[in-house]
């Protein structure tokens, strides 16, 4: 090229490249966008779904549990989403086909502050398949699945009762306009049954509107449910009754409600493998078990526990379970009262007496319990004949250590997290040779990781490592403790969350 044209070429190329770049930049590919089909005017199936939007996850109820419920619809359903702002952060409800989030999702609605603002959106599902609903701002936590099936009858049903299976329990409930009531347990009572129970529910209609009795597995109202009794069976005539037998085969939490009045009629059923009864004394020195002011209650996971508080004084007392500061019970004046706790996930809790003096007692809700017998010798701990052998447990294991006196010296078992002895460790077993020949104590391994077990009198010789491996499941991710009184007298205190709770200052 003749050098005199360099300038012209330079200028032309600058303009051309800048123009092409601009054209390219404005050509943002939009064909990726997935769009739900428009709602047809002749749609026949409509469903209403309410979701609370909070950064830890979607939920069907206001409160701490964030479950990202699985939604199941029949193909051809128009879903009216109602999203309620719970945490004042911006959220979107995005939907895309497939079992995971895709960048081309259709954003059905967006929501933001103020708290409890409500936004509605519609989604029409005309193709069978799996969809993902999620929040584009919080894609890692606020994500759940939508199943669009040919029919919804396959979505969920309680297991069939085996032939000749005995009906263990009966439960009578009345559907009122303000909730589902039991004469002794109050509105929307929490019910407790052992695993494998067959419960004969008798539901009586007490409103003039449509009513149903739906049950879902889980802690939330879910579209993945069984309509045990429908509007036809219950009718609109007050006094009409219908019955069905629920076979509660699997342990866990169930939710029941009337689909025509979801706002007022949501209750829970806890089904647990185990049951436990403890009678506790309420004293000025704190809660006592069998006269002991410091006690630990190891409770295997999935346990319905009944605690009876026996108060022989005339002092006002106040109790709580750790983690739920508002789950406070009040008792005063020379009486006994029983409470039913459902421990459905492993946790390390405290049973606190708040007033008049503060005392706490441990409650271990564990998956496994292991007994370990330890001989204390001059050369180290001997377990199963091996000196200072390292131990391994699974997360959520309560270990009951028994320390046998074999060296006629003072010995302890102290445990602390980490790979070395730490002065802040917990001494769980201690004895002096003159007093006892053996002693025992619990240690609850809630967190995975390494722990050091050592003798505070002989730290150089008696020391070993305990490795706690991760459970790997979802247990423990959320604390779920429900509490209610057996006789129903304080059923109003059954709490779902701090936000909606109204804690009566009831005096007995």
């Amino acid at each position: 090229m003749n050098s005199k044209f360099v300038g012209v070429a330079f200028a032309v190329m600058l303009v051309a490249v800048a123009g092409l770049s601009l054209a390219y930049e404005l050509n943002i590919p939009e064909v990726h966008a997935f769009k739900l089909p428009p709602v047809p005017s002749d749609a026949k199936i409509y469903r209403d779904v309410t979701l609370y939007a909070e950064e830890p996850g979607w939920d069907a109820n206001l409160g701490p549990a964030k479950t990202n419920p699985t939604l199941v619809f029949q193909v051809g359903t128009v879903v009216n989403f109602t999203v309620i702002e719970e945490d004042t952060l911006p959220h979107t409800l995005a939907i895309n086909p497939g079992p995971k989030e895709l960048s081309n999702a259709d954003i059905v609605l967006s929501i933001g502050p103020p708290q409890y603002s409500v936004v509605h959106g519609q989604a029409y599902f005309n193709k069978i398949g799996v969809y993902t609903y999620w929040c584009t701002v919080h894609p890692l936590t606020m994500v759940g699945l939508i199943y669009v099936n040919k029919t919804v009858s396959t979505s969920y049903s309680l297991p069939k009762l085996p032939a000749n299976y005995p009906v263990n329990y009966s439960q009578t409930l009345t559907i009122n306009s303000n909730g589902i009531a039991n004469r002794s347990k109050g509105l929307d009572p929490t019910l407790y049954y052992p695993t494998g129970s067959a419960v004969n529910f008798t539901i009586t209609q007490n409103t003039t509107t449509n009513a149903s009795f739906n049950i879902a597995y889980g802690s939330n109202v879910s579209s993945y449910n069984e309509t045990a009794l429908n509007a036809t069976q219950l009718g609109r005539t007050p006094g009409k009754s219908a019955s069905f037998i629920a076979y509660l085969k699997s342990p866990g939490e169930y939710t029941y409600w009337d689909q025509y009045n979801v706002a007022d009629t949501v209750g829970h059923i806890y089904v647990a493998n185990n049951s436990l009864k403890r009678s506790l004394q309420v004293t000025n020195g704190g809660i006592k078990l069998s006269g002991h002011a410091r006690f630990q209650l190891p409770i295997v996971n999935s346990t319905n526990a009944v605690f009876t508080l026996n108060d022989s004084s005339h002092i006002y007392y106040n109790f709580s379970i750790s983690g739920y500061s508002f789950e406070t019970l009040n008792i005063s004046g020379n009486r006994s009262i029983s409470f039913n706790f459902s421990f459905i996930q492993p946790a390390s809790l405290l049973f606190n007496q708040i007033k008049p003096v503060s005392h706490s007692n441990s409650i271990y809700v564990y998956l496994y319990m292991v007994n370990v017998s330890v001989n204390a010798t001059l050369t180290g701990y001997v377990i199963d004949g091996i000196v200072n052998q390292n131990l391994q447990f699974t997360q959520y294991t309560v270990v009951n250590f028994t320390l046998n006196n074999t060296d006629s010296l003072n010995n302890t078992i102290a445990i602390n997290p980490g790979n070395a002895e730490n002065s802040s460790s917990s001494i769980i077993v201690a004895y002096t040779p003159s007093s006892v020949s053996s002693a025992s104590g619990y240690f609850y391994f809630v967190e995975a990781g390494n722990y050091t077990m050592w003798d505070t009198y002989h730290p150089s010789s008696n020391v070993l490592l305990i490795t706690v491996i991760s459970f790997g499941g979802s247990a423990g991710s959320a604390l779920s403790v429900r509490i209610s009184s057996i006789d129903g007298s304080i059923s109003g205190i059954q709490l779902m969350s701090a936000d909606v709770m109204s804690c009566p200052s009831k005096t007995y």
């Binding site: 123009g19 770049s21 990726h32 999702a105 701002v137």
Partner: protein, 559 residues
């Protein structure tokens, strides 16, 4: 066939055709390079670059495609200068289009998605490809002359650095990224329906590659300064431009590793989100990694131009700069303080009062070296018997004025209460555009005009067109940035595709300013074409490469 497939096919075809053309050019030029290599061997040279320098580049060379295959320092310099000019026009076109779209309070010409893409690309390309690229270009071009280097042997590394830098910039350009130039997660990681967010990963990859190139280039230039300079050039004889490049390189080498790690982790997060989306991480983690680099890059984009001003002023005043020592000290202090002020970008992000106090204090301290530098310029002009107001000098004087305005507004933001009020408004945009347009862009053009006789093979640029270029650029810049400042102080939020109608007068004024700048660049292009078409008529030397000489306006040569 879907529209997407059609788009892909057309894009692919364009890319293929361009690739074939580039490959053909490469073959032609590579054969020339082989020829040079043989000639160098025949002459007994170990280094082809050294041969080119002695026989070709040592002499004034005209701009041509050969600069993309020759690896001598002058070719590298021209490569960077030309490439950065391309990116200036690309990013400038993006900026003008954004302005155009803001004529109406409601997004009109551009959708918000398109606006966000242009906003991101404009900022990222202007900073990394124009400001940094141009500075590296003048560094490569001028330093060998200023330091009288006795060998030119680092072309391979330099070239690798250049191509990685260019590749990085190209990836950012094609990425359609819309995550702003600071790549904050979770926005940059967020899956959304917008193309900009969808391809953010490509821009993260691009910027990481660009950084690798930048590091290689920085180390190479440092080696040239330390090991290749003539023994007769002592440290106290370094030109102030040399010092500015040294300080810039130190800043790059010190500040970039944390954000390179940050970008690497961010890139990993696209596949396995464990670093910046995990529940345990602090939202400030990436921002701190970024701004530890993000503030020094601002200085990296202006300090070399401060150095150029020190070189340009004496050429038109006929006197040495007022104080060489205070020049070095001022630039050196800017280096040190630039590493200590980054927290002022996070004043409103929850750093805590103690840190706000610390960064506020250090930010105020930056006034000292900035004032030393500016007063040095003013004293140099003040003490001159005669100042010849040439086009480069006009750019210099305008740059000083713009820097004072932009700098004062910047210092105001060091006060937390003011910062809390104006952050996120057009005050910030006005502040840095005053500086980037006045110093970075203006001084680049000033230096380009001074190199023009050499780059064009002995031609003169058209003074009238050059002045028009200057007047339009300076006036447009003043109008645009001032309107932003005024609107910003009233709360006009920046980086949005729309705005409240209340702010329309300020937006319209800034749009007018932007278009005046754009028209100014047409004069520049016109000048290039027109002046090059004329026959060579002057000495093809330029005085910017030479120390202690006085320039003439049109020839640029020594007088």
């Amino acid at each position: 066939m879907s529209a997407y497939v059609t788009t892909l096919t057309i894009d692919g075809a364009i890319v293929a055709i361009v690739s074939i053309i580039i490959f053909a050019l490469y073959l032609v030029l590579n054969s020339r390079k082989d020829l040079i290599s043989k000639m160098a061997n025949a002459e007994g040279y170990d280094s082809e670059g050294q041969f080119v320098r002695d026989y070709v580049a040592g002499k004034p060379r005209e701009l041509g495609l050969s600069i993309f295959v020759n690896d001598d320092a002058k070719s590298l310099g021209m490569r960077y200068i030309v490439t950065s000019l391309f990116f200036f026009f690309i990013a400038g076109a993006f900026g003008l289009t954004m302005r155009l779209s803001l004529t109406s309070p409601n997004p009109s010409l551009l959708t918000p998605d398109e606006y966000n893409v242009l906003l991101t690309e404009h900022a990222t390309l202007m900073i990394y490809m124009w400001a940094v690229g141009s500075a590296l270009g003048f560094g490569y071009y001028l330093l060998p002359s200023h330091l009288k280097v006795f060998r030119d042997i680092r072309g391979v590394f330099s070239s690798i650095g250049y191509w990685l830098w260019l590749l990085g910039g190209a990836l950012i350009l094609v990425s359609h990224s819309s995550v702003r130039w600071y790549f904050y997660p979770p926005l940059s990681l967020q899956l959304n329906q917008n193309g900009g967010g969808l391809y953010a990963w490509l821009s993260v990859l691009g910027i990481e590659i660009l950084f690798v190139g930048l590091i290689i280039t920085s180390i190479t230039i440092l080696f040239i300064i330390l090991f290749d300079r003539s023994p007769e050039v002592k440290r106290n004889q370094f030109t102030l431009f040399t010092w500015s490049i040294i300080f810039t390189i130190i800043m790059i080498l010190v500040s970039s590793p944390p954000i390179m790690v940050g970008f690497a982790l961010l890139f990993y997060d696209y596949f396995n989100p464990i670093f910046f989306t995990a529940a345990s991480h602090s939202v400030l983690l990436f921002t701190i990694l970024f701004w530890f680099w993000g503030h020094p890059i601002v200085y990296i984009a202006i300090i070399p131009y401060f150095g150029l001003i020190y070189e340009i002023i004496p050429k038109f005043t006929g006197k040495q700069i007022f104080s060489y020592k205070s020049g070095v000290i001022g630039l050196g202090l800017l280096l040190i303080l630039s590493e200590l002020v980054w927290g002022h970008h996070l004043f409103n992000s929850g750093l805590g009062f103690a840190w706000v106090l610390f960064f506020s204090t250090t930010s105020f301290l930056v006034v000292i070296p900035s004032a030393i530098t500016i007063f040095n310029y003013i004293a140099s002009l003040w003490s001159a018997e005669r100042i010849r107001i040439t086009t480069p000098m006009l750019f210099v004087i305008n740059g000083i004025i713009d820097f004072i305005i932009g700098g004062v507004v910047g210092v105001m933001q060091s006060a937390f209460p003011v910062n809390a009020d104006v952050h996120g408004t057009y005050v910030i945009t006005g502040h840095f555009h005053f500086i980037f347009l006045g110093i970075t862009t203006g001084i680049s053009f000033a230096a380009f005009y001074m190199l023009f006789p050499t780059l064009s093979g002995g031609r003169k640029y058209d003074v009238k067109l050059a002045r028009l270029h200057f007047y339009f650029t300076a006036a447009g810049s003043m109008l645009m940035s001032s309107a932003w400042l005024l609107g910003g102080f009233l709360g006009m939020p920046r980086a949005t595709a729309g705005y409240f109608p209340f702010f329309q007068p300020y937006q319209l004024a800034s749009i007018a300013g932007g278009f005046i700048i754009g028209i100014g660049q047409i004069f520049f292009l016109w000048n290039m074409g027109k002046s090059w078409l004329k026959a060579p008529s002057v000495d093809n030397q330029n005085c910017l490469e030479q120390v202690n000489v006085i320039s003439t306006e049109m020839t640029g040569g020594a007088q």
